[in-house]
Each structure stands twice: as structure tokens, then as C-alpha cells.
Symmetry: D2
Subunit: 476 residues, 4 copies
């Protein structure tokens, strides 16, 4: 112990050099990778989690007490100061810090001396990054759910306003049957409902605390994992400490898979809008302030935003499979490979959120050109309806079908409006029920609000900082 105390004094002078060791600077740069930039997104979570860990350490009874009640308060005050620094935008992670975890520990040590060097008792860096990512994921998933439902509402509003406006329904991009703008827009809205349900599943998956796993093998100290989980507002915790670590990468993959779903919906909506806003179709007029010009052709007004969403869909899908590909084939226990899942996760989340938000704004400004929509109808669109009329007169369907096929030239344009309204069975063009979807979105809104309150409440109680209205967190 005396020898250890001597080491203590020396290292106090040497700073944190020994934590990292004498590593080649090129290696330091290589291993830090983009963490110095990416980890800013985790800075607040790191402070919250450290506050919870300190609180827990202060409650370990017996002679094992590592941190006293008073020391805990000093730690939490220092952490609250770091949160303010992060929020002011002045927080930086140096090359030497490597990541947010050492950056925070180092600041604490600078402010609190010895006390700062106690904070890492009974936890490991893997442990910290694991819990930070869960806290980040929780907050972000609530954001993306909120944003997705707003896009759903915008589409529902569009659907309601143009419920009965006829539109040629297509399959294989070719005219198929009479349909309506209402059916089209609410189909996209219903797709988003499903996407939110996947976000919700991912939210539940994510909502478990890994803290206390240390390096994946626990520690020989009687830490209280349930307490930290509760302090941080988690509904559950990963029980097996080794699995708590192994779940890293898995959880990110689950979330990215959920985000892939919403991106698929966005991508198909974008493709529809790109097609339907060409002059050859002209069904929809995109808001000019959401279109960009050409550097050489003065007449151009291009749907760049929609094309980027389409491409960014591939980016998010790629992130999901990259994250999974990294995890595949690893042995149990932490491997540095997992660091590489961080960028797919954080950038994937921010990409998905940015796409949802911008498309919401665009959808709100879409103009519907009824004349162009009507002009799209040709008699052939009514072929199936005609066949069903013959069925009504007793002809077996397959024969009615063949008859109409042979006499396509005789088809006449039916009144579109009638054709649209004639489909009255459940949720067809004539059987819409927008209220049900609206109520569904309201339910999600309530869920999001409640969870935010719960989460932000925990943070407030723990750290004493007022948790601000959730704003967007951008990663440069």
C-alpha cells in the first residue's frame, strides 16, 4: 500500500500518461479514429452515467466505501459544470484524451485531484461507452419516433384534403386501376405507422442498463447495478455481465434495422414524388424552395432533396449491415472492433432523422395538380372494373377477364370519381378511415412525451441540470 501511495504521487505529477501508456503517436491517431468528433454526441450521457456511478459508489456500505457522500456531491457539481461546457459548444476532446471517457475523467481529476482518480473504481471504458450509447439511443429514438409521426400526420393531412381526388393507381409503373390521392398518401402514412412500431421495439431492446459489467466479468466489489439502472431511468438491465458487453453492436444493429425500415418508406415516397413531378406526369408540384437548380441549365428545378433521401436510404441500410458484419465472428468479450460500430450508429441515426424532418417540411408544401391527375386516366384503367361487371352478370371471372382483354378497344372512360368511390370495402379508396390513423399517431405522441418526461426527470434529479427541450443533435 505504501508503494502504491508512492506511485500515486508520481502519477499525480505525470498526469494521465500512464493510463494510455507509451503508445506510438501514429497508433494513438489510428485508434482514436473519429472518436474525438463522434464522442461529443455522447458527452452529456457520459456525465449522467458517471454521476450515477459516483452515487452508487457512495452508497456501498462497510469499509469498502470508495466515495463519501460529500465527495459524491463535489463530483456531481463538477460533472454539471462539464455538461454546461458541452452545451456551450466549447468542450473539446484532445488527441491525448482519445475519447469522451478519458476526457471527462481527466477534467474531473484536474478539478478534484485525488477524487477524480477514484471515479473509475469498478468500471471499465467498455462499460462506460456501452451505457452512454444506450442513453444516447434512448433520447434519439424518442426524437425519431416523434419526427416520424409528424411526417405521418403531414401525409394524413394531405390524404384527407385530397381524399377523393382521382389518381391512376399503378403497378409495374404502368397504369393499373382507378385510385385516389387519399389512398396514395395514407398508404405512405400507414407504412410509417409500421416503422414506428419497429422503432418502439428497438426502444425496448435498448432500454436496459449495461453498467456494472466492468470489463465484462464484473468486479470483486459489491456494486449495486439495480441502483445505477434506476438512477439513469432504465426500465431494465442486462443481467449477465458478459452479455451486457456482448450486446454492444447487437443493440446498434437492432436500432439501425429499425431505422432502415423508415428509410425504406421514405425512399419509396421520394421515388413516387420524383416520378410524379416530372412534366410528363405533373401530378405534384414540389415547393421550389426545396428544389435546386443546375449550374449550366437555367431552366432546371430538380428534386435533389428526394434523390438524396433515396441515396441516404442505401447509406443507412449499409450502416446496418456494416454494424452486423463487424459483430459477426467475434469471440465473446470486448474487442476493439466494436468501436467501428459507433459511426454507423450515430451517423445512421442523424441521417435518418434529417431525412424524416426535411421530407416532412417538403410534404407540407406539395401542390396537387388535379387537372394533371385527371389527364392521366385512359380507358384501359377500367378494364378490371369492366370484367367484374361481367362477373356480376354471371360470367366466371377468368372468362370475363379474357373477354375484356380481347376487346380492350371497346372500353370507355368511366367517370373516375364514381370508380374511386365505388370501392367501398375496408380501407380502399372509398372506404378510408383517417381518424383511426390520427388516433394511432396521437397515442405515439403520448408515449414519447411520457418517456421523455421520465428520462429527463431522472437526469434532472441525478445531475441537477435542467434538461432542455430536446433539440437536434447534429454530428459534423
Amino acid at each position: 500500500v505504501k508503494a502504491a501511495r508512492r506511485t500515486q504521487h508520481k502519477t499525480a505529477r505525470e498526469g494521465r500518461k500512464t493510463i494510455v501508456g507509451r503508445i506510438d503517436p501514429e497508433v494513438l491517431r489510428f485508434t482514436a479514429g473519429k472518436d474525438r468528433v463522434l464522442d461529443i454526441a455522447l458527452a452529456e450521457a457520459e456525465c449522467f452515467a458517471t454521476a450515477a456511478h459516483a452515487t452508487m459508489l457512495s452508497r456501498i456500505g462497510g469499509k469498502a466505501t470508495v466515495v463519501t457522500e460529500g465527495q459524491k456531491k463535489r463530483i456531481i457539481r463538477a460533472l454539471a459544470g462539464i455538461v454546461r461546457e458541452v452545451r456551450s459548444g466549447s468542450f473539446r476532446i484532445s488527441q491525448n484524451d482519445q475519447d469522451i471517457h478519458l476526457a471527462v475523467e481527466r477534467r474531473l481529476t484536474r478539478k478534484l485531484g485525488d477524487l477524480g482518480r477514484r471515479i473509475h473504481t469498478a468500471r471499465s471504458r467498455n462499460d462506460q461507452v456501452a451505457v452512454d450509447l444506450r442513453l444516447y439511443g434512448k433520447e434519439q429514438l424518442l426524437c425519431v419516433m416523434d419526427e416520424t409521426l409528424e411526417l405521418g400526420r403531414a401525409l394524413l393531412k394531405l390524404a384527407r384534403r385530397h381524399a377523393a381526388v382521382p389518381m391512376v393507381g399503378r403497378t409495374h409503373m404502368q397504369p393499373a386501376m382507378p385510385s385516389s390521392v387519399g389512398l396514395w398518401a395514407s398508404a405512405h402514412a400507414e407504412s410509417l405507422r409500421d416503422d414506428i412500431s419497429m422503432q418502439r421495439s428497438a426502444y425496448d431492446f435498448n432500454d436496459r442498463c449495461p453498467l456494472g459489467s466492468a470489463a465484462g466479468y464484473g468486479v470483486a466489489l459489491n456494486i449495486d447495478r439495480r441502483l445505477t439502472a434506476r438512477l439513469l431511468g432504465f426500465r431494465g438491465l442486462h443481467e449477465n455481465v458478459l452479455y451486457a458487453g456482448n450486446a454492444r453492436g447487437k443493440c446498434e444493429t437492432v436500432i439501425l434495422s429499425a431505422l432502415s425500415q423508415v428509410m425504406l418508406s421514405l425512399s419509396r415516397l421520394s421515388e413516387d414524388l420524383i416520378l410524379y413531378s416530372t412534366p410528363e406526369f405533373g401530378y405534384f408540384v414540389l415547393p421550389p424552395e426545396y428544389c435546386t437548380g443546375s449550374s449550366i441549365m437555367p431552366q432546371k428545378s430538380n428534386p435533389d432533396v428526394l434523390e438524396l433521401i433515396r441515396a441516404k436510404t442505401t447509406r443507412v441500410l449499409g450502416y446496418a449491415s456494416t454494424a452486423a458484419g463487424i459483430v459477426k465472428g467475434l469471440t465473446s468479450g470486448y474487442g476493439r472492433d466494436l468501436q467501428e460500430t459507433k459511426e454507423p450508429f450515430i451517423d445512421g441515426m442523424q441521417t435518418a432523422r434529417a431525412c424524416v424532418r426535411i421530407l416532412t417540411a417538403l410534404v407540407k408544401e406539395i401542390n396537387v395538380d388535379k387537372k394533371a391527375l385527371l389527364a392521366g386516366f385512359r380507358p384501359e384503367v377500367f378494364a378490371a372494373d369492366r370484367a367484374l361487371e361481367l362477373v356480376g352478370e354471371g360470367v366466371p371471372f377468368r372468362d370475363a377477364y379474357n373477354h375484356v382483354k380481347k376487346h380492350l378497344g371497346e372500353l370507355e372512360k368511366v367517370d373516375y370519381r364514381r370508380a374511386v368511390v365505388s370501392r367501398t370495402h375496408l380501407r380502399t379508396q372509398g372506404g378510408m378511415n383517417f381518424d383511426e390513423s390520427a388516433a394511432h399517431f396521437r397515442g405515439i405522441k403520448t408515449f414519447v412525451s411520457r418517456e421523455r418526461k421520465r428520462y429527463y426527470g431522472s437526469v434532472r434529479r441525478l445531475l441537477g441540470v435542467e434538461y432542455p427541450a430536446p433539440r437536434e443533435r447534429e454530428v459534423t
Copy 2:
């Protein structure tokens, strides 16, 4: 109508040629692709769904009645006959049939004449394949849940039996801390619990009936979509008819993402077993009947099964991203592209199931070599424990850490058993609770049984065929 009747007689002679049209045979072959083989897996579902559709048609009131009660009975009898043919293994889909849908319609027409030509009223092929895939997905997801929980139980049993057997815990594949076989095996079991929760989410996503969307734009006939959904045992239905079609591909992707999770768990377990069964480690001895030899080296006993699982993980991950990549950027409404999601879906499901099953059998036969496990311990493994001891004596952790780092040579081998048992906090090596996991798996078992009963009950009531004990469905 008279003209239509004339067509009727002609086409009765011409057979189904006109349904498909005069398509180039090379094109027929190209478009059919692997459907002739793959669709066999959907044959029973096709019969069930057709039975539900016929029943619904028979209940449409008024003059619109397409199928009478008596006709319905004849149709269902014929469908039950086809099911028997499928089960006997004699059912074939010809090049001309293209897929299971036309194959069944054509058989019905051959047996029932005119009546067979009525069955396609108010539905489209997209509609059929969509509902068939949901029924297939439902049954298969119940199988994979059941199989995954059995693997979980096998691991739990291994964990329980060797709960306190010491094992070097590793990070970065390097020795890290004292751990136990119990912790290791139950970590893998807990991972599977999470995987089952994703399978359950996918199950709920899948458990909605798309039938009645026709070509995605409904039909001008008062069909009853709630009825068919109920007859087929679905808990819900896709309301918007266009979205009912657009959900194809999405649903497969959701399921494949869930399967990717279980594959990731399998892959890491396999990697562990490959490593730990090398002579240099020797922790586990694989059952020889699960190993294969070399054609040139007489001494070999290779973990081929585990390597294949590792590689098949990449296959399933690839399927998930292929399915998503196909859906991306499509316009609304059916496109033939979706056919290409069928093989990833069906083969991905069968691949995942086969991997889970074979690994379960292998895990049950694993031999644990305690001597080799103990031999793996070196004094360095206790370095963190020693640092914590110093903390207990009042040294700040970071200083204790540095002290131990500088005096690694002085570390002594601690009694492993004590080291393992000393970790008593929640779910560490010394704080296991296998009963909780066992109870969890029992709960899933109950869920699977209940859902199977419900589903097979619907089938039995609808089609009158005794639904057999679920057997594995292999796709050649």
C-alpha cells in the same frame, strides 16, 4: 355478356394459355426463376388462403354472389385434395404454371370446370403471394422461436452444470479476469433471449392479413376483408389496400433482420467454440460425430459445422440487406422486383433454423475439460482484483492501477475458485440466477404453443384437414 360467354367457351378449350399470354418461352423461364421450386413451401398456405377467399365470396350478399354455399364446399374439398397431394410430395409446379398460384387455380379448374374460373374474382396474384408469405412466415417464426429457446435451454443446462468451473475471461482474445463456464454459457443464453424478443416483434409485424388488396387498389365489389383475416387466424389486417401491397418486402426484411440477430449470437458462440477447442486451449471437446475429417490428413477432426454457421451468418445478413436493397427506390404499387425477395426470405429462414437446430444438438454433447480450463490461468488475470484490493485500503483507483501495472511480476496466482465466487453482485460469476432465465424460456414455450394452437385451429376449421404436428419444412 353474350360475347363474354362466347369467349368463355373458347377459353375453356384453350386452357389457361390466355392468362399468361403468348410469352417467349425464354422469358417464361426467366420470370419464373426459382419460383417453381421455392413455391412448394407456400403450397399449403395457398390452399388455406384460397379456401378463406372462397368462403368470403360465398357470403357476399345480394345479386353479387359469385360463389354459392354449395360451390364453396366443392372448392374446399378440392383444395383439401391438393393439400393431401402436397403432403404426399407428388405436387409439381410446371414451367407453364409459373408459380403456386396458377398451379392451384389450374388444378381447381381442371377438377371443377367453370367454378375454378370463378375463384380469382376480386383478388390478384400479388394479393395471394402476399398472404401466402404471411402464413408461411407465421408458422416458420413459431418454429424458429421454439428452436431458439431449445438452444437457450441447452446452454443454460451447460451453465448450470459448470456454474462454478473457473474459466479465464477474455477481452481482445487476451486473458482479462477470472470468470466461469457458468457465466460464459449463460451469456450466450441471454443473448438468445434477446433474439427471441426480436423474433416476437417480427411475428407481430407479420401477423396481419393483406388479403383483399387485389392489385393494391381494391375492387368494385363488396368483399369482406375482416372475414378472411379472421378465417385465416390473423390478429389484424393491413387496412390501406395500397400499403397492404407495399408492405411486401418490408415484412420480409423485418423478419430477416430478426433472424440476423440470432445468427449473430450463433456466430459468436461458434467462434468461441472453434477457438476453445484448439489443442492450444482445449477448454471444450467437441463431439466427434459433429466434426469432419480431412481427405488428406488422417489426424484431423475439424469444427466444420461451426465454421459453416459462421459463414451462414454472413449469408443471412446478406439476405437481409438484399431484401432491403430490392425494396429501396421502388415506386408505390407492385413491381416484379419483389419476387426476388422470396428466395432470401425462404432460404434465410431455413438457413437460420438449420443452424439453430444443429448447434443445439452439438451444445448438448460438448465436453468441458476442467484441467485445461484451470491451466489457462496466469497470475496477470488477477491484476484488476489486486488493484481493487488496494482501493479497499484507501488508494484511489487510478493510482492503484498504476501501481499494479508497474509491479505485474509480483502478482500471485489467487485461488481461482475464490476469485470467481467473490464476484457476487448481480449476475456476475458468483451471482448467477439461472431460474429466472429458465422461467423466461418457459414463458416463450407457452406463447409458441398457444399461437400454434390458434393458427392450426383456424386451418382445421377452414379446410377440414387435420393439421399435423409441425414438422420441418426443408427447401431443397
Copy 3:
């Protein structure tokens, strides 16, 4: 040696059981996977390679002679018989055979007794599958090059025939500048030229013999690797025996990456054709025998073939990344994981080839609708030309651009033909040079013929079977 001879007699009775060992039948089925079906594609290559190996063994001098000249002749006669069996379609691989390699060895043993049991001297199964895949790859790459150039020629013919037919050039799917069918079609042809160059690179990569690596560590026998390489018609060989094995998976990935390129070209061409054959555009009329109808809508004529090509592009891209993902992170030396690259490789090759062929046939039958093409022009398409006119009068471009942008309404329709022809600089609409591309394709044709002659000549000399005109090898 005496004991070994005793074993010899016993195993003669026991058959090949001991080669495979007493493996669980479920394991046998799992490890064989789809090899029993896939390996048929490798059957001829297996016979060629075995013939080369036998020839080499017969030339090892000194007392080490394993196979005499006369025995070699008997082996080759037996192999030629197997080739005939394969060609007749009657060759089957049993569950017990596992794969083509044991299937052939077993047949040889059945026919030749002891001699058959000598053939595996100094080689391993990895060795065999590696060389078989190279031979397969070689033949198939020549096919795909040939087929791709035929598609290029078909497009060039289309371009030449409609060289000056005006067509609105587009960016962002929106009208951009005056263009021509000639420019459009030859752009796609030029893309294929690039794709063939990548196939050529892959061909060179593949054209090296791995045989003689045994299990990756050579053998203690003086085998002549250069001889087998030459007998099999390879231009080079993998020198390092360990790398010869490690190159498996890599080589498949290189080939699949090359195939991905041609698929990308096909996919973009298909997308153009899907769009331009909608009634709203109507530029091209697809041959009806390449379109398919709908089961419910009598009027439909859908571009299913093109949609499938688009989707199959994702399939081939997926295969490329699956193959790479399997190889990633493996340790040196053979691992069974590599078996899983076989299906991506073989199915990817067959998929790409089928897509190229069917698109060639379709392109040859496309009808160009000049009236629809002209109708697509609107005055705005000439905006950039107008700005350049102003530049010609001394106005800086950026100002001319801004002026035209502000006065778009004043633009007049220019004579399209003049606009198209006015672009006379290198390879624009007015500066085409189809002869150069045609000459390029001729050069590739010559290369393909020469290589085929060389390869098939080697086979003929070695095995004495007449090598047939290359026909398509389909994988069921």
C-alpha cells in the same frame, strides 16, 4: 507397411465409409448443404483436373512413382466415361458422396479398384475444389464476356439506326438538354465496354492454377505443379502453396465484383426502359412477348423482365458482399466457411449471364416511337443553348445564365434536329463514332475465341473428349 496392407483389404470391403468417418447423418446433411446440386456445375472440371493430376503423378520419376503410364491411361478412360455420364444428365451426387470430389473418386474406385484409391495421393479436397472453381470461372467468364459484347452490339445497332432521332436528355429525371437516341443507346454500349474490361481483369486474376497446394502446405513428394498448370491450359500458377488456398474466396469476390459492374449497367438500362415505356413517355415500345400480363387486369403489359433484372442486380451485388464478408477475418489456411462462397459465385454467375442474354433479346426487339420522342420537347430544354448563344455574343456565361433564367417564358422551341446536330465535339450527339466501338467489340470477340480454343484444346488433349460448342450451363 504390412499393417497398412491389411487396412487396405479391410477398407476395400468397407467402401469409403472411413474417408468420411462416422458422422451424424444430420451433420452430413448440414455440411453438404447445396453442394450436391451446385457441384454438378463443377463435374467436368473435376474430371479434367483429376486427369491432369493423374498425368503428373505418372511422370514423377524414381521409386516414388505412384501411377504408371498404363494406369494413367485407364484412369483417363474412366474419367472420360464420367464426363459422358455428366453430359447425359444422369450423374448424381449422393448424400454420402457429399460433393463432386468424393463422388468422382468413388466412381473411379468402383471402376478401377486399388488404382482409384491411389488418385488422391498428394492432393486434398480444398486443392480440388480450388482448381475446379478456376476452370469453371474461366469457361464462364468467357461466356459472359461473349454475351456482354453481344448486348453491346445490339445497343450499338439501335444507336446507329436512330443516331439522329431527337430525344430529350435528362438529369434528375427532369428534361435537361436536347439529345438523341443515338447518344442514349451508345452510352449504354460504352458502359458495357467498361464492364467487359473488368471481366477481363477478373479473367486474368482467375487464370492461375492453385493445384498442388494440397492442404495449403504442400506435400513431401516431388510433384510438378508447373506441369499440371500447363496441362490444364492455365497461363500462370499461384506460387505460394498457402496463398493458393487463401486465394479462394478472394478470386470469387473479384469475379463477383466484375459481374456487379455489368449488372449495374443492366440495371440502369432497365430503369430507363421501364420509365420510357410508360404511356406518359412512350418513347419505346417493348416487345409484347417480353412483357407479362396481370392476373386481374386484362389491359396490362408489364415490363417484368426489366424489373427482375433490376432486382437481380441487388442479388448479384449482395453475393459479392456476402462472399467478401465470409472471407473477412478468417485465419490463414482452409476453413469450411469458404464452402459458402460457392453458391454466391455460381448462382451469381448464372444470374448475371441470364440477365445479359434476355436483355439482349429484348433490346433487339425494341420499337422506337419518334413521334412520342419529339412530343417530349419543350422550349425550356433549349435554355442552356440560348445562354451559350449569348456567350457567343460576348456576355459572360454566368450573366447569360441568369438572364435566361429570368426570361424562361421567352424561350422558343428550336428545331430539335439542328440542336442535336449542333453538338459536334467529340462523341456528343453530333459527333458519334460507332465504328470505333464496333471495332472494340470485334477485338473482344477475337480474344474470347482465342482463349476458348486454347482452353478447350487443352481439355481435348488431356482427356480425349471432344469439347462441345459452349452451351449454357444452368444451375437449377
Copy 4:
């Protein structure tokens, strides 16, 4: 023209606002994406290409002259100034600039007034980014080839130094046959030779100038595309202007596929080193300055660098498939989707280069532990050799194999060194030829030097800036 001149004066005042139009700031941010950061990597290329374009404009004869000889000189002087600014690190791209292309044009206009507004005559932004990416790709590919060959040389040196040091050769991670460090290290070197050959193919693919395609449809001005291609040092050019644009994305995919190959080699080498540096194997001792510690376990020295390389392999593979996935299904002509291929391309290139460099440094410092290598041998490793001995005594191989299999216990440890040296056939452990590989690497070195000289010479002649020794270009 007068009106145009008026516009000229107004826009002179308004600055470049009208080029971009009145776009929503949120949209500007969304569409710019990461271009403001990424495009710095393209800044020099942008200046070179603009210099070539200006030179070409100055040589257009007749009244069409857009830029005089004197004006050209002023433009080039201004561009050289921008290059210096870029090199000093002070160049920034503003939100308003969106990308490097407008940033440079705007600086030119600020410096040169009217003349700056002339520079965009007859080109488009797509055109510029396309040529910039080719120039960037060219320089970077030369770097990565150079770096890859250095890793190859480092491995060769390791192989030569330990050519005869025995090492257990493995398959399935299990001991297989006697091998040597020389064989192992040179296998990895030979893999890199192949990777360089793919980089070379990609280099040739990339080495064609797309400039002059304008928006993909040429311009009505007699520009000289061959001249700009020559001035920029390209060996060829994309002839068809539409394809010149369509090749974007394709070319990046080709390069990323080539980089995937080298990453696969790196990944397998890393995996070997991770495994062989565990205490259980101990074959290699990694240089401590390339290992990192743990924050909780004082004894740790982890191969983080190697794990990151393994994970970054997945990243680069993911980039290749993301780039391809973005291109798939696009219609002809530029789409904004392509912007999303920029980050995969640039970051993929920098990632691959960083991995190659750090692994080279690490390989140079590896320590080989001969004692541990010898300790790894067990008698079973000689089983195949024993079987071949029996073959030499006339026993058919399959019988010899079975005999040895049954009497494994009787195998004796052979002298390893003899076993290794006994394999004397081509390029086995005893038949190494390091000189041939060394000569091969020298040849590549010569190629790289020659191409660099050619490229940098073009730049120097064109722009008058001394081209510095190629240094690494890092993307933050």
C-alpha cells in the same frame, strides 16, 4: 443581348445568390451534407481541372473565343493562388458555397470580376466533380499501390529472415501439417501482389477524362475534349458524353472493390496475428507501442490496432456495396444520389491507406518466438507425411490414409526442420523463391514513380505550381 447585359450588372451586385436560387436554408444544409468537409480533399484537383478548362476555352478559334490568352493567364495565376491557400490550410468552404466547385468559382469572380463569371462556360458542376474525383483517385491509387508494396516488402523481409523457422500449418484453426514462418509470411505477401494488380486495374479504369460532358449532353460549342484530357495527364477519355456522366459511381465502385481486396488480405493477416499473439500460442510478440492497455486491468496489452483493421475491413466492404447500391436502378443522366458515393469513396480510400500504413509499421516490429513455434508441434502434424511414406512403399493412398488414421497414437515427432525442408516442390516451405516476389514489387515501384512523374509534371506545366512530394492527405 442588351437585356442580358443588364442582368449582368445586376447580378454583379447580387453576387452569386441567383446561381443557387432562393433555397430554404435547411435544404441548403441538407443538400450540402458533408461536402463542405469532404471537398477539401478535391480542392487542388478542382484548380487543376479549371486551369485545363480555361486553357482549352482560350484556344477555341473563331468568333466563339470565350477567354483570351491573356485572360487565361490571369485565371491560372488566380488558381495557383487558391492552391497555395489550400496548402496553407486556410481554405474554407462556406455553407453558401455548398461545395468546392462554387467555392472556387466564387473566389475567381471576387478576384477577377467578369472574367470569373466566364469560367463556367461549357461545363457543368457534374462535369467538374467527375473530373476532380478522377484526379483524386489517380493520385490516391498511386499512394495506395506504393503503400501496399511496402507492406509486401516488410512481409517478404520477415519471410526471408525466418524462412526455415518451423511453424505448425493449420486448417480450420486446427494443426494440419508442418510449415514455416517463411511460407506463412510470404503467403500474405503474395496476396498483396494480387491486391496491387486489382488496384492497377482500377487505376486504368479511372485514368480517363470525363471533362467536356457538360451536363451529360455536351454543349453547342466546339470544345476540345482531347486537349483537356491531355493537359490533365489522362491516358484516355470517356468518349460518349452521357456515359462520361453515368460512369460516376461505377468508377468509385471499381476502386472500392479493389480496396476491398487489400482489406481482405489485411484482415486475414490481422486475425492470424491476433490469434498467434495470445499467450496460448505466443508465436509472435507484438510491439508494445502498437498495443493498448485497459482502463481497468493493469496487465493488459491488447492488439487494438489489428482488431480495428479487421473491423475497418467491414467498413470498406460496406462502402463498396453502398456505392453500388446507390447507383443501382438510377435512370441515365446525373442524379443527386451520386453525391452520396463521395464519402464512401474518399473515406474508404483514406481508411484503406491508413490500415496499410499502420500494419506495415507493426509488421516491421514483430518478434518471432521460435521456442513457442516449436512447442506447437505435436506428432499428429506428421500424419499426412507418414501416409505419403507408405505410398512410397506402394500402398494406395486411401489405404495408407486409413491405416495412419487408425494408428495415430503410433506417430512420432519427426524432426520439424527436416519436415519443412522436405517439401521442395514449387513454392512450398522448402521451395521458396523470395527474389521473384522482390523483383515483382520493384516493378510496381517503378510503375508508381513513372506515373507520378507524368501526373505531377502535367500539373506543374499547367498550373505553374511546384508539385510537392506526395504527402498523405487526411480527411478529418
